[in-house]
Chain length 404, copies 2
């Protein structure tokens, strides 16, 4: 069976709101072994909604919609579905009672929320006002407010699906996340493994600094042997979770290691990624964003002479930056980075995208390395950030030196 | 004309990745006056992609896809479109040359990226490897990597659309951007102005820290009088451009003011926003991301006693943090911030979302103020960042104290 998701609302279509509802519903359904056939977003237009529902119902076993169930003039999903299933409306007194208990005397707009299609199964809304509706066991209408949608999905819809559409032969799905590894490098091995295990379905999704490999198969033996071979080959690149910053946080908290950074070209992005995680204060001391040479000298003791003779983007400067971090703090591991994020400031010997990094453990000889990135400013900053966080993760876990 | 967006990729369909690409593309197109008819997400399956493209092309003037253009085995969009337009493939030597210059000798997978449908217009990818393709002026294929997609959209696709599908602007459209102003506050005045100028169409789009007011009318006199009244009322909240960080950069460079920050709860995000702008090094000295109390004492001279007696989130601590910045550097303006980003760490007297800020000009008495934000961790960090950057902009331009 295939499930289709339809989102209704101009705020999604115009990009005012990012559609996180469909990602949530999809994840929950996939976990239970269901297959998602398609996502569609439709405008607040009753004709378009009706036609969209009809097409989806003709194509898929089950359709779940979000949005357009509220009390205002642009909420049209309920009406469209009722037309499609040729259903009259009636006032549901149990909903009126429930709404009155929670909201007091009802304005007209709330009475409207209790007026439901007679042919639909009505599920009361415990956190908001609009009830969810199920037509003919095949069309499920949920509110678009994320909190209400999630409550319905978890408490009502997933149990309903498991009862009426038990998953017979679910295919197994696994996702592997790699850092510091290029898509084309791992692709070669995936092609070889694909020939060996043709039953396994492969998806590769590169992001800045990580590559996600998604594997699916009805034959779980093949799948897990495939994964074993992949893990053996790329062990030190494999992340235990989807994000580098989470992997780094977990290993640092576990092994009681404190981190500190000195950032020039990344301009605070490394610190921002680390502190985006709740729990960062357990292992992250902070970051000196020494964007100007003045701060590099003042706070890290980089010498005026090194800056003049070697330039701010050099092995010598990042080395002194890292040294400065360890002199003044109790950090265990540190990273110092300096580079040219562009679009200006490049030269023939140090073009835009040139990065120098120093990384090390207090008391040990640091790793110093350079790399070059062909992206725009935003990309250079982000890719450098993830490369360095990934390098630090691999150093702490596997003892691998930066740049290797 | 109507534009449809199609996303291709199982990672979106399964909910592993939230589809932020369509929101971005939609916003950019809407700004230019185009209309978005539908969003669809399809699986990595060549039959489904082909059928999906066909249906969309039959229904809409123009179709833009993202995803499925990479060099790996699950990248099928190019093939599906070529079949639909009955196009053979050829090796494009200019792309081979460009890729070799940027990536060295090509593995097979990169040679594949230079193999393009002969009937398509080929746009070279300046930041990644997959070129964008345009078939018959009606089907535009873009890569799914957000950074590459955005670069193509801004540099190539929007100008292409404006050339080939000029929007007949019978109506004038203007956008005003405000910072430090709540949606509901400006909404009241907009309702009054709406009654006075019924010919003017109003849209309000709040974002973290800014509110965009979009005004459209066929009657340009009404529109500009409307705008004048609005500007008069909210003069000191009005930004000269769409982004706070750009406004701040321009005024600082113009008036030769140097900035420095001390960040605790924003964790480097303020610095990251500032340094996202090319040109930041002209006025931004840097930021001390003093996440731990150890660094607050070491680098800013915050006293142990103040930290113990008042707590890290207090008027006294941000005041000492700001003082510390001015003692050691040549900055003209500084901001110091400390708060509870959550989800843990709150208390009845200082709940999650409590922020203390200090802002000032060197040698002057600083502004000290507190505010509270009801968002999740990510929201608290971003909203605090934009509120403080907005407050600094208003202080430099209008002399308005922080928190007012």
């Amino acid at each position: 069976m295939e499930i289709e998701l339809i989102t209704i609302g101009d705020e999604i279509l115009t990009g005012s709101v990012i559609n996180s509802n469909v990602a949530f519903i999809s994840r929950e359904l996939i976990k239970l072994g269901y297959k998602i056939g398609r996502h569609t977003t439709l405008s607040d237009d009753i004709k378009i909604i009706k036609e969209g529902l009809q097409t989806a119902l003709a194509r898929s076993t089950l359709v779940i919609t979000t949005g357009g169930l509220g009390p205002t003039i642009d909420d049209l999903t309920r009406g469209a579905a009722a037309q499609l299933f040729d259903s009259p409306f009636h006032l549901d007194l149990s909903i009126v009672k429930d709404l009155k208990e929670r909201f007091g005397e009802l304005p007209i707009s709330l009475e409207d929320q209790a007026t439901v299609p007679s042919k639909a199964l009505v599920l009361p809304n415990k956190v908001g006002t609009a009830p969810a509706l199920i037509f003919d066991k095949r069309l499920i209408l949920l509110p678009g407010v994320p909190n209400e949608m999630r409550t319905f999905l978890t408490n009502d819809i997933l149990p309903y699906l498991q009862k009426h559409y038990p998953v017979v032969q679910s295919q197994v799905q696994e996702e592997l996340y790699f850092c510091q590894l290029s898509e084309s490098l791992i692709d070669n091995q995936l092609r070889l493994l694909q020939q060996k295990y043709p039953q396994v379905n492969i998806g590769i999704y590169p992001d800045l600094g990580t590559v996600m490999v998604q594997l699916k198969s009805v034959d779980s033996n093949s799948l897990y042997t495939f994964i074993e071979e992949l893990q053996k080959e790329w062990k030190s690149y494999l992340l235990p979770c989807s994000k580098i910053e989470t992997a780094l946080m977990n290993i640092c908290i576990q092994s009681i290691q404190k981190l500190i950074f000195a950032e020039s070209c990344t301009g605070g992005m490394m610190a921002a990624k680390i502190t985006s995680q709740a729990g960062a204060s357990q292992y992250f001391l902070g970051s000196l964003v020494v964007y100007s040479n003045e701060l590099k000298q003042k706070y890290l003791g980089v010498s005026d002479r090194t800056l003049r003779e070697k330039g701010a983007v050099s092995k010598e400067v990042v080395s002194e930056m890292l040294e400065g971090l360890f002199i003044h703090t109790e950090a265990d591991y540190g990273i110092a980075v300096s580079g040219i994020a562009g679009p200006d400031g490049g030269s023939p010997s140090k073009p835009v995208g040139t990065i120098w990094a120093a990384m090390g453990k207090k008391g040990e000889i640091p790793d110093l390395w350079t790399f070059h990135t062909q992206l725009n400013r935003e990309g250079i900053i982000l890719l450098t950030t993830y490369r360095l966080l990934g390098a630090l993760y691999r150093k702490i876990v596997f003892g691998i030196a930066g740049g290797e």
